[in-house]
């Protein structure tokens, strides 16, 4: 029997790879990032080498985080696909889905050693039910 799940995964992988290639040709790359849940916080770290703090734009909603960071320092990297030519990095851009709903207004961010760390408190909601 044909494995449609495999087909769907492969289709998505090829599409993502193609989009990544197009972005890299334009000098725009998706940064490496990591999401951890520690206690009542979601901690997202994003690797942004070559960026200054002032050039980071960060937006949060209840369930996602968007980062756009201009890279003013000239960083040349080998574009791995199609031609293998060198490209110059212009911008990092990523929209990251969060695993749980958070309170975006209470988020805190810092930038050190080229790594952006964003701490977002987990949204505690719902109506309290009295136990009788």
């Amino acid at each position: 029997m044909f494995d449609w799940n495999w087909f769907e995964r492969e289709r998505k992988r090829i599409r993502d790879e193609f989009l990544r290639m197009v972005e890299e040709i334009e000098g725009r790359i998706t940064p490496l990032h990591e999401i951890r849940r520690v206690g009542d916080e979601v901690i997202v770290t994003i690797d942004l080498p070559g960026v200054s703090k002032e050039d980071i734009k960060l937006y949060a909603t209840e369930d996602s985080l968007q980062v756009i960071a201009k890279c003013k320092k000239e960083i040349r990297f080998r574009e791995p696909c199609i031609t293998g030519r060198e490209a110059t990095l212009n911008e990092y851009r990523a929209t990251i889905s969060l695993p749980v709903k958070v309170e975006p207004e209470e988020a805190k961010a810092r930038f050190k050693f080229g790594v952006l760390e964003v701490r977002l408190p987990v949204k505690t909601g719902g109506k309290r039910i009295k136990v009788e």
Binding site: L32, P49, I75, K112, G114, V115
Partner: protein, 248 residues
């Protein structure tokens, strides 16, 4: 597909009790970054490469030469094993085993394995700690003279370096594992520089890490694909349990 690996010698080796430095891709690509920099800094020659059908299909073109993904470089005193492709744990074991069998005939004085240990507090660290693991009393005494290295006396190590220890111990090779605190999922040239600093003092080398730190941003951008693939390939990343006070 067989995971049999073989060493293909490019030139006749002329080692005299060399130190073998292994830095295959792992946490923060510390070993990969450090060994590549050591190879360039010491001007080491390609001595051999590792061949296996399971090594990801990639070659590096360097002017008029082709560099294999898993290569052994060296001079008469230092031999370096490095890779620019991700290696799954099952293949890593076969590679380490084959390389140790090969180097044993040259009677190595030390097997030095370098890498990273993921630390979620890395962003707070102005000074990066290095942990040393060995069971050899002489090496233990030697490393005591190198400040800033914490010797691990007890604990459970898991991940790629556990394979290295098991294979070295089987052959009764004197080994030392050096792991620096690293960003777990990002290439970490700073952590690689911390390990090289220790190697400098241990082996009386004078490798200047300043160019490595100056090129840190370029290195991080260039290695992000290898980092992603290494995370997938080496799922249980390097960790030490039962000894949290030895680091930091």
């Amino acid at each position: 597909m067989t995971n049999k690996v073989k060493i293909v010698e490019i030139e006749k080796a002329d080692f005299k009790n060399p130190v073998l430095i292994e830095g295959l891709p792992d946490v923060g690509l510390v070993g990969t970054i450090a060994t590549s920099f050591i190879v360039d800094s010491l001007g080491l020659r390609e001595i051999a490469y590792v061949d296996s059908p399971l090594i990801p299909p990639a070659v590096q073109l360097k002017h008029d030469r082709i560099i294999e993904p898993v290569t052994i470089y060296g001079n008469e005193k230092v031999v370096v094993l490095t890779s620019f492709v991700e290696l799954p744990l099952i293949l890593l074991r076969s590679i380490v085993s084959e390389v140790l069998d090969w180097i044993t005939k040259y009677k190595p004085s030390l097997m030095l394995s370098i890498g990273g240990i993921g630390d979620p507090r890395r962003i707070d660290l102005e000074k990066i700690g290095v942990v040393g693991i060995t069971i050899d009393q002489k090496i233990r005494e030697l490393i005591k003279e190198v400040p800033d290295v914490n010797i691990l006396n007890e604990g459970v190590l898991s991940g790629p370096k556990a394979i290295v220890i098991r294979e070295a111990n089987k052959r009764r090779l004197p080994f030392l594992i050096l792991l620096s605190q690293a960003f777990p999922n990002y290439p970490d040239p700073g952590a690689a520089a911390a390990v090289i600093d220790v190697i400098n003092r241990l082996l009386k080398l004078e490798i200047d890490v300043k160019p490595l730190l100056e090129k840190a941003d370029e290195i991080k951008v260039s290695l992000r694909e290898l980092m992603k693939k290494t995370i997938s390939a080496v799922a249980p990343t390097q960790s030490i349990r039962g000894a949290p006070t030895y680091i930091g």
